[in-house]
């Protein structure tokens, strides 16, 4: 829902890194987005097209690595994806978990020329 502000912050980071590397053009942006953030990849690409106009990131391709909502059982250590109707450890029926995947919102790397 807040892809516009997320994309703007992302673009700020990308442009700063590209400038530091004295790049002429950003060809690709690699993002890591956890499913728990609700950030929609297509909207990020859409806003980036608009926001990057006139910058060296104009026309850059966006590649998104999606991370599923993942939990680790505190009792047996099993790692599993959080379901949508029931949260129980599939291995031991435990009911206490640590979130180990899902909240990520990162610029992983950029490819520049």
């Amino acid at each position: 829902m807040h892809e516009l502000s997320v994309t703007q912050s992302m673009l700020d980071i990308v442009l700063e890194q590209a400038k530091r590397a004295e790049a002429r053009r950003v060809a690709r942006i690699n993002l890591i987005i956890g499913e728990m953030t609700g950030v929609v990849g297509d909207s990020v690409s859409f806003y980036l097209d608009i926001l990057s106009k006139g910058t060296i990131a104009e026309g850059a391709a966006v590649n998104i690595k999606s991370i599923p909502a993942t939990a680790k059982c505190r009792k047996c250590g099993s790692i599993f994806e959080l379901g949508e109707h029931d949260w129980t450890c599939p291995a031991c029926q435990g009911d206490s978990f640590e979130i180990v995947g899902g909240p990520e919102l990162f610029v992983d790397s950029i490819e520049v020329e």
Partner: protein, 218 residues
């Protein structure tokens, strides 16, 4: 050429949040970020809590709303310092908005600052404001499936308030199962079932809040 970045996209917001936190700490203000879906009872909880703090703790309020100022007017009538933020369509408050709002509040007169976030269960969870406490209000009419739909929010908060328990006889809401689900991904969370209408359960929440706030000034 590939450049490794590995940077949190919201790090700029986090930096401003840290500055807000320093400003709040320097005034010994305890800030509470209140998040919920629309109509869950954010304004009601702020008003009921404020009444019960009277004579003990001096409150202040930041009202975040997409467009209106109805909530700020209601709180202002109680004689509490309040500032309204209209996010202009943004679905959450961010640290910069709070930074501006702090500039127009009488900080030396405030001990506990309630921040009413925009009604939304997704986005506010990701934007740190500089608050000391994150509180989520859920309400019984919205049903008991929300933890499964918005795990990030339930995972990120210090307390979950289950409001409108006066309506439990009429709605599908299993309080016991709900508590267990929330605790499964957030073992530290404090849970307060209450009703802003009848007042049931409010004292326990207020006592906990005062305890948390006094740990800052101690």
């Amino acid at each position: 050429m590939e450049i490794k970045v590995l940077k949190d996209i919201l790090s700029a917001n986090d930096r401003i949040a840290q500055r807000n936190r320093q400003l709040l700490d320097s005034h010994k203000i305890f800030a509470v970020n209140i998040m919920a879906s629309p109509g869950a009872g954010k304004t009601s909880l702020i008003m009921e809590t404020t009444k019960r703090l009277e004579g003990r703790v001096k409150p202040g309020v930041i009202e975040g709303d997409i467009a209106s100022s109805i909530d700020a007017e209601a709180v202002g009538k109680m004689g509490v310092p309040v500032v309204q933020i209209n996010t202009g369509g943004e679905c959450h408050l961010d640290a910069n908005m709070i930074s501006n709002a702090l500039g127009s509040l009488p900080l030396p007169e405030i001990q506990v600052l309630f921040i009413e976030n925009v009604g939304n269960l997704v986005c506010p969870a990701e934007f740190a404001l500089g608050e000391h406490l994150k509180v989520l209000i859920v309400h019984t009419p919205e049903g008991d499936d929300k933890p499964f739909k918005y795990p990030l929010m339930f995972h990120a908060v210090d307390a979950v308030i289950i409001n409108k328990i006066d309506l439990l006889p009429y709605v599908k809401f299993n309080l016991e199962a709900y508590t267990k689900t929330v605790k499964s991904i957030n073992s530290q969370v404090a849970i307060f079932p209450l009703s802003c209408t009848t007042g049931q359960g409010l004292d326990a929440w207020v006592a906990w809040l005062v305890e948390m706030a006094s740990s800052l000034t101690r």
